[in-house]
Symmetry: C2
Subunit: 433 residues, 2 copies
């Protein structure tokens, strides 16, 4: 099985000034190609140390990918170091020079002589075109191995990897070996330990795909990772394991991989042809922001009101002053009145309201920081929830928005988890989700 190694070049990485996101991107890509990656190294903009790291990697791996250090300045030494290691000259590549000159002309910017340094290639290497910047990549095959040099900016590296390096690796190094493919199941409406308990035996038994719970900022997620001779076979394994997980947890799985709950809810709204209005207090516009992030959201989203002040709750949403005085702004009654008010004003099918105490101040023993009420109205029914979230202000707001979207998601898929939910009888506390 061919092994690949990644070397990230840049003093900024070592000083912690930037985060090494290439490591993650390339790791995932190489795994999906079935190539083994055993080591990743970061090294500064220092010729001797780049050579030292490269020599070590070249000795033990079949393909070495270097990222960064191909800019126009004197600090950019990656090509020089690799050429030096092999004892190769750097020679100007005419096509790269033309493309650098065009890059500047096209943008109406002045090219500095330094930029021409970027057209230099180790003799015998193949330049990889860079439509998104001035530094071409480098592919150097020698002694039955390969060195690949990619530019540092992600907006240049990712397209170059996708268009040139990935196909090369697949064809030259990847054929017929096993690939690793992952899938993430995203859950809402259930707590982490409850979810894990329900699938404990599956988690213990499964080894291909492996299934592992992921900590991800309060959300409950599971990652399935399959290893198989081909992507198709890996997908089949994933599909089988996903089906088994869905038998236990299907009521709570709202999406896969990078899907967001708000986008899934947007899809539901679009399919159902329903409209919605929001009355937010402690979430401060976050639910509206999330629901309108999706293209086409103007098809269902009509109005959001963030009523922070009691006066705004009364005047804009028509929350009775009596309700605010008797029950307080953070109460079941106020949440319901807010939702009713915004639906009346906007004339929508659905309405969602939140009111709570995001902290750090404003809590009392009866109404502590983290207490949030959520209300959902639909034609002919309503649901009200009480949550207590722990954590800082940002976390409480995010959890509250997620919980409110969960109510909406559950309603829209026609599944209710606990008890009757229409009319006043359905109200009552429920566990924080």
């Amino acid at each position: 099985m061919p092994t690949v190694e990644v070397i990230s070049v840049g003093t900024e990485l070592l000083l912690g000034q930037i985060l090494n996101t290439h490591g993650q991107y390339l790791g995932r890509e190489l795994a999906s190609l079935g190539l083994d990656l055993y080591y990743q190294t970061s090294v500064g903009d220092n010729r001797a140390r780049i050579i030292q790291a490269f020599a070590r990697a070249w000795e033990r791996s079949d393909v070495v990918i270097l990222t960064g250090g191909v800019g126009p300045t004197d600090d950019d030494l990656t090509k020089e170091a690799v050429a030096g290691f092999f004892g190769l000259d750097l020679v100007e590549d005419a096509a790269s020079r033309r493309s650098i000159e065009e890059f500047f002309t096209h943008r109406g910017r002045q090219m500095t002589p330094n930029n021409l340094k970027q057209a230099l290639m180790p003799r015998g290497a193949k330049p990889l075109p860079n439509p998104n910047g001035t530094a071409p990549g480098v592919l150097l095959e020698t002694g039955g191995k390969a060195a690949v040099i990619l530019p540092g900016p992600p907006a240049e590296l990712v397209p170059m990897f996708t268009e040139h390096v990935r196909p090369y690796l697949a064809e030259r190094w990847g054929g017929g070996r096993s690939v690793i493919v992952s899938r993430v199941l995203r859950l809402c409406g259930i707590g982490e330990s409850d979810a894990e308990t329900r699938v404990k035996d599956i988690l213990a038994r499964q080894d291909n795909p492996t299934i592992a719970p992921l900590a991800s900022g309060g959300e409950v997620t599971f990652r399935l990772t399959a290893k198989a001779p081909s992507p198709g076979e890996a997908e089949t394994l994933l599909a089988g394991a996903e089906a088994e997980m869905r038998r236990r947890l299907g009521d709570f799985i709202y999406g896969l991989d990078d899907q967001s709950l708000s986008d899934v809810v947007g899809d539901q709204m679009t399919r159902a042809g329903l409209t919605i209005a929001l009355a937010e207090s402690c979430t401060g516009g976050l639910i509206g922001h999330q629901l309108t992030q999706r293209p086409g959201s103007s098809g269902y989203f009509r109005l959001g009101v963030t009523a922070y002040a009691n006066e705004a709750k009364a005047v804009v949403l028509g929350v009775p002053r009596q309700t605010l005085e008797h029950h307080g702004a953070v109460s079941e009654e106020t949440a319901l009145a807010m939702a009713q008010g915004v639906r009346r004003v906007a004339g929508t099918d659905l309405a969602v309201a939140t009111t709570g105490i995001a902290g750090p101040g404003g809590g009392t023993p009866e109404k502590p920081v983290g207490l949030v009420y959520g209300a959902l109205l639909w034609p002919g029914g309503e649901d009200i929830r009480r949550w207590e979230f722990i954590g800082g202000r940002r976390h409480i707001r995010e959890r509250a928005a997620f919980a409110a979207l969960t109510m909406l998601w559950s309603h829209l898929k026609g599944v209710r988890r606990t008890g009757p939910t229409t009319g006043g009888a359905g109200r009552g506390p429920s566990a924080g989700v």
Copy 2:
């Protein structure tokens, strides 16, 4: 100068399933201690390869920090590998065992026998207490060098590093050497190339601190990095360079390091004792979300209305139907009417409105995707801007929110950039910011 090396252990890192954030955190910490970090390596959960990476690091560095691989499972091999490299037994540490048992008792959870593996230490090593988890850290000094093992979860690693490792490194390895400290200047109201042109000579001339523009998602920022014998001297260098930058760009610098524009505006509002209401369309609640992220925002934030539908603009904000029909929802006139409407309803000192086309659909040749109007009202005056942003929906929304907050920030600091800004005479297009 002593050198430190970091080895991150975990197959998940190599598969790209998690992002290596420790590299950045430790890099920044070591730089601020004046310790040189020349290499960072990631390696999988494999005993032979952990030993190989460790041997290499031990040979060329004074201190080797390993992170991860100290959990309770069979995959967790970091301590075993390091002990094996030195030919040391693993022996149970009584205090660590007690603390693991207490950790479980305290949380009412069942301890598995595996967890006791975490109380094992290479003979002669010093355990580092972990109040946030079950894996103690390890400090092993031998042959005039040191190996440090830290747990993988950031919530455990960071406190352990701060409380135990940082003081140890400073005392044993750091004394009297030069430190590296960074500061980031954050700008608004000016474009990237304009800002760079104004300080080009400073950037070229400065080498301690170095000053470099940072690409950060459309915002204009500069990073100053100083190297000095002590933190105090580094701060002095930074202060001098910051003062020089402020002479050229002071009108546009809103904050430092991790400060957000919305938090700075919140501080301004609080100091000024003013209240605000928002009428958002294309930004969908994002400005409200940002302004209410700050604790104490209920002191100035009264009401936010996200009026996506024309009907909502007319009914809730009182935008004249004639204005909507003649000029369209995306127009200077509608932006102004939205701001006037929300201020009338909320009775605030200030009001901000946005209306635009976030895309991807909805653009026309006259009103393309990315066109956004922003309006700001204050007692006795108003300002209206027209922006054209490029990029995807998310980027356009974020840029529009940032530009609207920039208007607010500029007003609140009493500085106007372009032309007269009170009354209708001040209206007109301005460059996208």
